[in-house]
């Protein structure tokens, strides 16, 4: 890559503390398949955040794999998922959920969030027994695919709606760090664990080489979970690789610190874009910036920077997506900011 890249939050390796820990522990013999000391330490560190001992925690490699293991283990064959149309499982996972046999019922959403009304509409239009798959699990992501962040009150309403309708609530936290450190956030990991049935904390997009931590507050869903992890190919022989990384991320607040760095860089981009007189397609809450720029401006920026042109916005403008990470170089942010 010759140009500086704002394409995504996984263009660099991992935080140096993680590399150091991998090196420090490298030649120790450790039990395989997630039963190593480091995975156990990481579990303890995550449970500390939840303020609850014993909550099941598993480490998997990769978001799509994590989503499909959770959903396939939680549902019977006739049960369906409700998700926002923009939900990662609905849009960007190559039919991975359907490949495990389950229908995804999508709900339109302007900002990437699901609402109680959306869920209820999905229930109402999927009620013709037994000719329609039975809605059973609600999938949300935080941050959403639009970079927006759920407020506590919003998640409480979703949680209540799900419990009232015998629906499981699952939260995809590929970018949960970015959500929890957003200025607009008022949720804690502990509260999330109280409101949802199962969620995961993304490592890949938050400073790890790879790895996601699945947390299952609704403990019945954890029954036999490890079989599913193995059956779908998600059980790493050297589970230590995941454990060591999550130990580092959840020691001394590194996970949150890195997410804050990413968010701060996005805010800086976003402020410069607004200051230059352009509009945002979605207000910037986390580490993704969706800006509406003139096509000529986009071309010009593209000479020195890589980013996605997301969709057209009329004839002469387009929405672009700029993503920052814990590793984003502030000098490059300043450089692109001068060009808007």
């Amino acid at each position: 890559m010759n140009k500086y890249c704002f394409l995504d939050d996984y263009s660099e390796g991992c935080h140096p503390r993680i590399l150091a820990a991998l090196g420090r522990t490298n030649l120790e013999q450790q039990t395989a398949y997630g039963n190593d000391d480091y995975s156990n330490q990481a579990r303890a560190l995550i449970r500390e955040q939840l303020g609850k001992e014993g909550t099941p925690v598993y480490f998997l490699a990769g978001g799509t794999l994590t989503n499909l293991v959770i959903i396939a283990s939680a549902l019977r064959p006739h049960e369906a998922v409700i998700a926002a149309h923009s939900g990662h499982i609905a849009l960007h996972e190559t039919g991975a959920i359907e490949a495990t046999g389950h229908k995804i019922i999508t709900v339109p959403s302007a900002d990437g969030k699901l609402t109680a009304a959306g869920i209820e509409a999905a229930l109402a239009s999927n009620a013709l027994y037994p000719h329609m798959a039975k809605p059973r699990l609600v999938y949300v992501s935080n941050t959403t695919e639009a970079g927006t962040v759920y407020k506590k009150a919003e998640l409480q309403v979703l949680s209540k709606t799900c419990r009232a309708n015998n629906l499981l609530l699952m939260l995809d936290g590929a970018r949960l760090g970015a959500a929890l450190t957003a200025e607009t956030n008022d949720l804690s990991l502990k509260e999330i664990a109280e409101l949802v049935d199962v969620f995961w904390i993304g490592g890949t997009k938050s400073g790890a080489l790879l790895g996601e931590a699945v947390v299952i507050p609704h403990e019945a869903l954890a029954e036999d979970f490890e079989f599913h992890v193995k059956q779908r190919g998600a059980l790493l022989a050297k589970g230590r690789v995941l454990g060591i990384q999550f130990v580092e991320l959840f020691s001394a607040g590194l996970y949150f610190e890195l997410a804050q760095l990413a968010n701060a860089m996005a805010r800086k981009l976003s402020n410069a874009i607004l200051a230059a007189g352009h509009a945002l397609a979605v207000p910037t809450e986390s580490n993704q910036v969706f800006a509406i720029l003139p096509n000529r401006k986009i071309e010009q920026l593209n000479e020195r920077f890589d980013f996605y042109t997301w969709e057209k916005a009329g004839e002469h403008r387009s929405v672009v997506r700029l993503v920052t990470s814990w590793a984003t170089d502030e000098h490059q942010v300043d450089a692109i900011n001068r060009l808007f």
Copy 2:
């Protein structure tokens, strides 16, 4: 772990050269999803071994995931796999292949190998059209789960049998390094690529943190392969992590050097066991030693060493499995050898 462990070949981290490379390249920005410079370099290095440009090569994380992606992408729903009863996909992958919809037809095997006669028997007893799943892919592993190594003549016969019967031949190379560096081996990577339709080169058990390289000499099987990699959750966002490791393994012969180290340690164990007057359940060809030991001896060894007691061998004896790796400590080998 307080005891020294001969349980498996994935109890340690990775070869230090790999960690160094991860560190050296860590902050470079690289394209995601396996399109990074290092994955491309690693592809070139592997193709060099094959003596053939352009052979499709993909990097995935984990053997079960690799097996299921290959098989699910290669077969239509009514097609079945033929494997030795001891084959990893048949015995130790939690029904991962069946979970993608395919039956595995198993063939008895004393030494872990398939033979033409075994394949032909499986064909003959699965021929009642259309009431039986149609055999379409033959799965072998090298080394086998019994640590044995295919001779060139054996693989040639399998290849010929498969081609004569419209069967695809797949080779699981989780321990391909150990096979190719065995004293009994007379095969090269190049020859394997000529004889089979698809195979994979295991990194996890050969010095990498994780990662396996899928090689598809039968190029029609590579059509749309990346969709399958993504759909099954096997497409790492930071594909560089796999690419960098395979660059190191296939530079300066490291992959083969590490496998040789493992094999040498196993030979040392095996020689000591024989010298002490015990028998082997299977002659030691690679990095797995299957020894028949008195139960009292096993208890005594277990005080200082970890290993699997595999199965009973009469009333007073059992088969134990001792596995070595590139990281096995020769002092520990000497120590256990003194106890046999």
Copy 3:
């Protein structure tokens, strides 16, 4: 049922000629699994309609089963279906297609039909390689779920669009008789067979007890088809039951005659509804009438007749669906007509 029923076109048994044929042949011994004389005769009769010898024809029991066998046999795991949002597979088959692993990409449609523009939009929004399932098969139904009928020119455009985009075109003919005998129809079975890759001729809704005939003009799709029929549980031991029925339906034009009867009754209903000053939600082309009636009128009709109230149409009106069949009693049509 005490009330006369316009709920569907499968509330009665079968045409008496079919019962007579079942009786006449009952004690003959016939080969099982669709290889009986009658299934062969029925194949010949259908091929006569196609004007082409040798086209593969199979008999299955039930529309959902037929749809899932066709689609699961035609697609590789990463391939998706494009269908109208109202398509039977998308809306009323309990996720049967997803249960075989395939995503359905739905396209909005006011009248139940797909258009080239709809297909192209679906292609454009599902093109992010390899992160989106690959569209590969287009599903249409004729008549559609709204009772509308494809014109020849419309199907030609779809066919051309599919061939230009490497898409298979499949036609669900659960009510194909009603389509081919509609006043607005200008298509023949022969032309359908030239324009689509695979289609089926519904028996259940056209005078049979059960049974659908799958026709595969794109012969490569028929390779190993019978394995799929068996694997999904669709291979009737007494295949004669299906063969005998299709022999009767395709002898002396019975299939078309029965569909015409159904359509005529629907036209009579529809004319009376319009004459009474009500509007139709969709113009009546076949044997389904979608009428917008005042809720009080619906209540009144419901005292003596059964039918579905489909959806609200403002505060005081609703859309009702009245379905006729070959067995609809004209006296009952007259009776309900007097009440509109």
Copy 4:
């Protein structure tokens, strides 16, 4: 068919009383999808046999479909089935169970029966958590594929073994009539319902055109069952076709009477074979006769009769299978008997 056929028990149509009932009720309007009066009557008649009100009963068309619906609805993805190697689901259903994602663990069996020892061996060799699919359902068939019949004591032991090991016990009753009317039988439908969790009563091989009745004594397994029936394509629109047939079969003992006829004809064949000095491969208990005949004799019989030559029995002899049904012509039995 020019020769008289002993190939199977589904070469003829149905018992004339069934045809008469189909005719008598043909033009009545009935609710679709198994909610018709006749399906309800048939449920009541079957429950009478069980001596228990309220047991869930469903009607499906076809044995493979029935097996796959039951198993797929009962199991979570990581759970496996234990079956005799000769079990229909393991051998003659084209991988239908695997196609729903589940592994079948097979147990050798000489007479087609499973034993407690067989189940326990399967459990012992599939216990490596989480690397092996978890055994959860035991599949038996009665009569077995070898025509043998479970004694009450045998089924009690299986039932106890299953309950002690948290295994569901399922009985495939494709030929349950033949079992319950065998001279060696000491089981009733009521007792079967007490001993197993789910079973089905085959109609196809017992005088119906098609149709099997699923009975679910373990009522938790019936939760949402109808969704599964629909999702797998097994929900007939004209469910009356199944209901009417089971009303006839379970009125005035017809079901048992027809099975007795079939068994009597098999006994006659079997006695003649023994009297002629030949041996049986399995003692004849029901409507399948497995005889060991000289190959020359087989050729001679084949000139006038159709039957399967099952497998070789040495150089000059083979096992043949002769199957009788309710419709078997006693004159033809006499005719073949004269030739043995």
